[in-house]
């Protein structure tokens, strides 16, 4: 079986600044991969490249063996490539239920209907009420997104991602800004996903990385400098120097 997602020699520069440099990786069915790296390493840029938000200067992306480098964002989503955003991008003036329902209706290809009811359609309702209940958002179903706290908005990002039934799910710091007691819900939700999809998570919280990932990619200055299991990553000298070292140094400060 071919890989769900493959990046082949992907580079991207903004003017003279090389933000992504010859990146190669593969995501197979069932992969749970963490992408880590210091601030400014180009992690979000890499996600933007994968989703088609920005075009690579060189290199190619493949999904299931088909090249997707030149496909539009919606076309990639229709193939099952789904992301969440680091800074929430939601339909702020719609209700929480509407946000998730729109994703569900788009996936079910009923979002072009002109006169049927939308969010309250039984098959749509059943789905979003389950997703929201699992993330503890059901109390807010009929509240506008703007009225919610930032941490709850972060969970809606994830809810929309789940509603699209992704084959490849890219999570850009899903736990950032989420209150501590709500954070486990994120991992629970990811664990409930079908085992045959691939998940790539950008995350700074090493606790979460250790509990989630079977494989870790380390990005520094736009290059993938390491790939291995979480324990191997912490042991690697290069990684410590580029990333964890700075972490350890920071901790030494009283």
């Amino acid at each position: 079986m071919s890989d769900l997602l493959e990046a082949r020699a992907v580079s991207r520069s903004f003017g003279g600044l090389q933000v992504t440099c010859d990146v190669n990786f593969k995501l197979a069915a069932g992969d749970r991969v963490a992408l880590i790296g210091p601030n400014g390493a180009g992690k979000t840029t890499l996600v933007n490249l994968i989703t088609g938000d920005i075009a690579p200067s060189a290199g190619q992306f493949f999904m299931g063996g088909d090249e997707i480098t030149n496909l539009s964002i919606p076309d990639r989503v229709r193939r099952g490539l789904v992301r969440t955003f680091q800074t929430t991008r939601l339909f702020a003036n719609l209700t929480v239920a509407d946000n998730v329902a729109l994703a569900i209706m788009q996936r079910k290809r009923i979002s072009r209907r002109f006169f049927s009811s939308s969010t309250e359609l039984p098959e749509v309702r059943a789905e979003w009420s389950e997703i929201l209940a699992n993330l503890g958002l059901d109390r807010f179903a009929y509240r506008k997104v703007v009225e919610l706290a930032y941490g709850q908005q972060r969970l809606i990002e994830l809810a929309i991602g789940l509603a699209l039934h992704p084959k490849v799910l890219l999570l850009d710091e899903p736990a950032a800004g989420v209150p501590h007691d709500e954070a486990p819900k994120i991992l629970e939700a990811i664990n409930r996903l079908p085992p045959d999809i691939a998940v790539l998570m950008i995350e700074h919280d090493m606790d979460l990385v250790f509990r989630f990932a079977k494989r870790v990619l380390v990005l520094a200055a736009g290059r993938l400098i390491f790939e291995g299991s979480p324990t191997e990553v912490t042991a690697d000298h290069e990684v410590r120097r580029a990333y964890l070292g700075s972490y350890a140094d920071a901790r030494r400060v009283p």
């Binding site: 702020a92 239920a97 329902a101 996936r107 209940a133």
Partner: protein
């Protein structure tokens, strides 16, 4: 640790077609007030209804999709001219004329949408003005077809359903227009809550998010423009039928700007806002212009400044907030 997982959100309580029924009844009630209390002003009120279609149409693209436009009268004008030309050339059945206006408006909407929806922000606004001016110039230059600056006159439609002839007191025209408004308004209420309508509001909020759930934005905006064009076209057709003339004012820049003002006044993004804005602006203008023909624009400007300062999101917004607060209290009790 025991956690109760609530796997069910109680559905939003609503009577089926409750909103639609409320909409229809409110419009009929307002119409009845106009018909019985102001029988001498029916011609003006009929004109008001015609413009209401244009404001509703503008609301669809501006209020619901966030498209900035100052050329929306093009759709209205094309609908009006198409109706007028068809009527002069022998199609006199009002319902058929309405269909012609609707179709012409929809085609014009699709064309404008195909151009305007490609861009965002200022380029979009400028392009909308250009499209509007182009249509206005064509209406002026093609005088063999449109009557040019003299306007297209001699539009004498037949009887509605073959029974009700158009009278000089505009009774038939008013009731006919009101009936069409009720139908269109109810359909629009349904439409804006449909998956398509909801998605348009999503696109307005954040188009990158919309693309990231797999939505192709451009075709949707063009389609929405087509629907809006149809609504504006119906308004144009009704105006042509009820007044018997179509002039260059129906495609003018002033018309486009005025309806944008009405929409902002009432509250963009709500069908009721569009309706309220039209009613308030046109009645205010009508009364002030009669009382003080020289300074009425000054007063209209003053009114606008007051409203933008004290109700920046339109007059309908405080009303809706009050209603929802009332509802929440009701459900809490």
């Amino acid at each position: 640790m025991s956690e109760i997982v609530v796997n069910h959100v109680s559905p939003k309580r609503s009577i089926p077609f409750g909103q639609e029924a409320a909409g229809a009844l409110t419009i009929i009630a307002l119409g009845a007030i106009g018909y019985f209390l102001y029988p001498d002003d029916l011609a003006f009120l009929t004109r008001l209804i015609g413009i209401a279609f244009l404001v509703l149409s503008l609301d669809l693209v501006t209020g619901y999709c966030g498209v900035a436009t100052l050329g929306h009268a093009a759709q209205f004008g094309v609908g009006a001219y198409a109706t007028g030309i068809a009527c002069v050339r022998g199609i006199t059945d009002p319902v058929a004329l309405l269909a012609i206006g609707l179709f012409a408006g929809a085609v014009m909407g699709l064309i404008s949408g195909a151009l305007i929806a490609r861009f965002r922000g200022l380029p979009q606004l400028v392009l909308s003005i250009a499209v509007g001016q182009l249509v206005a110039a064509l209406a002026n230059k093609l005088s063999w077809l449109t009557g040019g600056s003299d306007g297209l006159s001699g539009i004498t439609p037949g009887k509605v359903f073959g029974i009700f002839g158009f009278d000089m007191y505009s009774r038939t025209a008013f009731l006919f227009s009101l009936g069409v408004l009720v139908i269109v308004f109810v359909l629009l209420q349904r439409f804006v809550r449909s998956p398509f309508g909801l998605m348009c509001r999503g696109i307005k909020d954040d188009d990158l998010r919309a693309r990231m759930i797999g939505v192709s934005i451009y075709p949707r905006l063009v389609l929405m423009y087509g629907v809006a064009g149809a609504v504006a076209g119906v308004g144009g057709a009704l105006t042509a039928i009820s007044t018997g003339v179509v002039g260059l004012d129906s495609v003018s820049f002033e018309r486009s700007a005025e309806v944008l003002v009405m929409l902002v006044l009432g509250g963009a993004g709500h069908l009721w806002g569009a309706l309220a804005g039209t009613i308030i602006f046109m009645i205010f203008e009508h009364m002030v212009a009669a009382a003080n023909p020289f300074h009425w624009m000054t007063l209209v400007g003053l009114l606008l400044i007051l409203i933008v300062v004290f109700a920046p999101r339109g007059l309908i917004e405080p009303v809706l907030t009050l209603l929802s607060r009332f509802k929440r209290k009701g459900s809490a009790a």
